[in-house]
């Protein structure tokens, strides 16, 4: 049985978080305006569009792709008993509705969950408002989904 309080397990989480935060700053994805300038595709015809975000996510996926391939040959991760894959695999209404709601929030603010937390390093004005609302929304989502799994499926 893996020990979730073991130093290496927590250490890996900390190193990963450290690199993740550094990556968010270096790529400037902590800047909501920079993200919005990517999402604003209406600026493409005038030449004012900033494609940077695509240049951030592409190498991130490529590096992670190699890691996923590597893990295919491993019986288990180095410091855990098993690879924890998401419980869900099918495309359902919650996935579509949830992703759409997130899309609205992201488009309104230019802030997705990673930068929202990493921005604590710079404490910009009104960040706390966004964070408290995001945590409240997250908690509401958890309760909503719990309710859903409790009620028997209609279809």
């Amino acid at each position: 049985m893996p020990n979730y309080k073991s130093l290496p397990y927590l250490g890996i989480a900390a190193v990963s978080g450290l690199l993740f935060g550094a990556g968010l700053y270096i790529s400037q994805m902590v800047d909501p305006l920079k993200v919005l300038r990517f999402l604003d595709v209406t600026a493409i015809p005038a030449g004012g569009w900033d494609p940077s975000l695509a240049f951030v996510i592409a190498p991130a996926i490529a590096v992670m792709f190699i890691a996923v391939r590597l893990s295919g040959g491993m019986a288990r991760p180095v410091f855990n008993g098993k690879f924890h894959l998401p419980d869900f695999t099918h495309i359902d209404a919650p996935l579509l509705i949830g992703s759409a709601l997130f899309g609205i929030g992201w488009g309104m603010s230019g802030i997705c969950p990673g930068p929202a937390i990493a921005l604590l390093a710079f404490v910009p004005q009104n960040l706390i408002v966004f964070l408290v609302a995001m945590f409240a929304g997250s908690l509401a989502g958890t309760l909503l989904m719990k309710q859903r799994t409790k009620t028997p499926a209609i279809a």
Partner: protein, 144 residues
């Protein structure tokens, strides 16, 4: 600072990928930020790795800004990144971001980076939806 910046984007993106790779190979966990804090909130038993990851992420952003101040916002001498919109606007955006990522079970990192790297069709659909809706939202609201 708002101009196209391919090199810092590629470097930062590679670091985010490396961070996700380390968490996966080392601990068998998906580096999806909405999931990492979402499964921490309202729980009686605290998963300390989630706390360690999130705290380190703030330190990582802070440290990188100190070490590489010239890259843009937030470093010494540089202005702090500005949030766009008034508090009510940001509260609604935050609420939708938290709720949506929980119901949809992932965000830009979980579905976007890890899900696409795993060639998950479910994640590909999620990514297509939230990118399309976000672009539409920006076009409609004209916040930029």
């Amino acid at each position: 600072m708002d101009a196209f910046s391919p090199w810092t984007a590629l470097l930062g993106g590679a670091l985010i990928g490396l961070a996700s790779a380390i968490l996966w190979i080392g601990n068998g966990r998906i580096a999806g930020i909405s999931g990492i804090f979402g499964q921490l909130l309202g729980q009686v038993r605290i998963d300390w790795w989630r706390v360690a990851f999130l705290a380190a992420m703030v330190v990582g952003a802070f440290g990188a800004a100190r070490l590489m101040p010239g890259l843009g916002v937030g470093g010494p001498g540089a202005p702090a990144p500005q949030l766009i919109g008034n508090p009510l606007w940001l509260a609604v955006a935050g609420l939708l971001t938290g709720l949506g990522t929980r119901i949809g079970n992932g965000c830009t990192s979980g579905h976007g980076v890890c899900g696409l790297a795993r060639l998950s069709l479910r994640s590909a659909v999620a990514v297509a939806v939230f990118f399309a809706v976000a672009m539409l939202t920006v076009a409609v609201t004209g916040v930029v």
